[in-house]
């Protein structure tokens, strides 16, 4: 499988793709931190079902973990970006016709798919790091301007940063796998991104707005819970287990389709 990973990593080294991916992660990290600090300091509250963001309370923001709260707050936005780039990286093999060369060179198709997933995990780790670094650089000036206390932010710094990074990374991996699965099924980046964004911004938000609708198991909610290290509604362990189930189901589906379907592109 190592050759497939090296091959995929070479293909992912497309300057435009990586710059756009990392720039969007940085943009959302900076933007959400600024908005979050301003919003929390003003005592505002989000409407139920607001898509893509989950802001902490003022106390939460001023605690030690508040330093990295922006990552969890924007987890679903980061997730949509990650879904999009996994989908683009997967669907471009079909749209360019490269899939013919790849499958002819490595007919054990599961290796190709596993290599792609592993390589995308590496780049997702880098994208998560970009978001984490920008988060740290963005939150201090925003907090200073909004009068949010940062006194506790240095406490247990390594653990707080590492935990936030790991939780976001796990959530983004699941979002990415979702993008890959849709791209394998549809063989189109545009359709995959439309389905992913449409689901998060429309379908899941609508379900959440329906009174008494059971929404804790929804993909966005689950992955947001993973990124936050668990919420009052969904524990971290439950969220992780649910996310793992989603990922496993998705990978099995993508694997079966990828291995069995004719390559006619």
């Amino acid at each position: 499988m190592i050759p497939a990973i090296r091959s995929e990593l070479t293909r992912l080294r497309q300057p435009r793709l990586l710059i756009t991916w990392f720039a969007l992660m940085a943009l959302f990290a900076a933007m959400v931190n600024t908005i979050m600090v301003s919003f929390v300091s003003g005592g505002g509250s989000l409407p139920p079902g607001a898509p893509g963001v989950a802001f902490p309370t003022r106390a939460g923001l001023e605690s030690a973990s508040g330093l990295m709260a922006g990552l969890a707050a924007a987890a679903n936005m980061f997730g949509v970006v990650t879904l999009s780039f996994w989908a683009v990286a997967t669907a471009s093999d079909y749209s360019s016709g490269l899939i013919r060369l790849l499958v002819a060179a490595e007919p054990r198709r599961w290796r190709l798919l596993a290599g792609k997933v592993a390589a995308l995990l590496v780049v997702t780790a880098a994208a998560t790091t970009v978001a984490a670094v920008v988060n740290v650089f963005a939150v201090f000036p925003a907090a200073g301007a909004a009068g949010i206390s940062t006194a506790a932010w240095g406490t247990d710094l390594v653990t707080v940063v590492a935990t936030a990074w790991l939780n976001l990374f796990l959530a983004l991996c699941a979002w990415g796998v979702l993008g890959l699965v849709i791209a394998v099924l549809t063989r189109s980046a545009a359709v995959s991104i439309s389905i992913g964004v449409g689901y998060l911004l429309v379908v899941e938000s609508l379900i959440k707005m329906v009174k008494d609708a059971p929404s804790d198991w929804l993909l966005g909610t689950t992955l947001s819970s993973v990124a936050s290290g668990g919420t009052a509604a969904v524990s971290y362990g439950t969220a992780l287990a649910l996310a793992l189930a989603y990922v496993t189901l998705g990978l099995v589906l993508a694997g079966v389709v990828f291995v069995r379907r004719d390559v006619t592109d």
Partner: protein
């Protein structure tokens, strides 16, 4: 021994039969040509040989291994399927390096094939800046990357300028002479005629002909192309020759008479007898194109799609 063998190979796409009980063997070493009208099943056959699609019925083997186990021969086969396929945002070199990694090849093979197809110096440019001809060269480089025993090339000279076409034809001939097997699928029959030792013709998924090129060329016949001094006389000339028992057909601006060179003088006399002076009389051989059209009919394969084949299926 055969490099590719198929037995009753059939592939259906819903109601459409793309390959219909194809049984053929292609010889080891040399260049084999795969020709047929549009939609005749050439691409389907190539995709089955590469393990990209599975047959509905029948079987096939490549380099002695069944197509059901393409991993057994994939490392020994180089391919250019349809158009060259690369990531436009990556450089030519990076695209080849990616394939070299996948095939577990040393990276000096990338330099070797770039030199072989004349892309040294342009290899660090993004593929999106390449002309069609350069992409085609890169596609051939990718096919040559593993120094394969068997090369399967679909329209290898598509988009190349005349000098490039000559260069690639020479490369294909060299590979064939050096013990490699090259299968070339092409619509350019002059190209097939120029480089191939063996020919396979399919139409509506059925095998029309498979044999050495020398055998094909034995089917060629002499003909005589004639033209009258005054274009207005061409109709009278054709009518007079047909009345005299000559087999005549109009081709472009000449009349093509099916006759051997020895009858040229008789033909000239026949023209004179109907009061027409010839300004042109050229003895020539049928080209592969004419033999091909005779074998496959003068119908565009894709336009003929939907036509019902002998077994009741709809051919593609």
């Amino acid at each position: 021994m055969s490099v590719v063998a198929t037995t009753g190979l059939t592939r259906r796409f819903g109601p459409v039969t793309a390959l219909d009980r194809l049984t053929v063997e292609l010889p080891v070493a040399g260049v084999s040509g795969l020709v047929g009208p549009n939609g005749s099943g050439k691409s389907t056959l190539i995709r089955i040989l590469l393990g990209l699609i599975r047959p509905t019925a029948g079987g096939a083997s490549v380099l002695g291994s069944p197509v059901a186990s393409p991993a057994a021969y994939a490392s020994r086969v180089g391919v250019l399927v349809e158009s060259p396929a690369f990531l436009p945002g990556l450089s030519a070199r990076a695209n080849l390096v990616s394939l070299a990694h996948l095939r577990r090849l040393p990276l000096d093979r990338v330099d070797a094939v770039l030199a072989q197809v004349g892309l040294v110096g342009r290899d660090r440019e993004p593929v999106r800046r390449f002309s069609l001809g350069m992409k085609q060269r890169l596609g051939i480089a990718a096919a040559l990357l593993s120094d394969p025993e068997l090369l399967i090339l679909d329209e290898p000279t598509n988009g190349l300028d005349p000098a490039g076409i000559v260069e690639i034809r020479e490369l294909l001939r060299d590979l064939g002479r050096n013990g490699r097997t090259v299968i070339v699928s092409s619509h350019q029959l002059s190209e097939i005629e120029a480089v191939c030792d063996f020919l396979m013709v399919i139409r509506f998924g059925e095998l029309i002909f498979a044999g050495p090129m020398t055998e094909v060329m034995k089917r060629t016949r002499e003909h005589i192309d004639i033209a009258s001094e005054h274009p207005a006389d061409m109709g009278r000339l054709e009518a007079g020759l047909v009345a005299g028992g000559w087999s005549v057909s109009a081709v472009d601006d000449v009349l093509r008479v099916a006759a051997a060179a020895a009858r040229a003088a008789d033909l000239n006399r026949a023209a004179t007898a109907v009061g027409v002076t010839l300004s042109r009389l050229v003895v020539a051989q049928d080209s592969l194109e004419e033999i091909f059209l005779e074998m496959t009919g003068r119908v565009d394969g894709e336009l003929a799609n939907g036509r019902t084949a002998t077994d009741g299926t709809v051919a593609s």
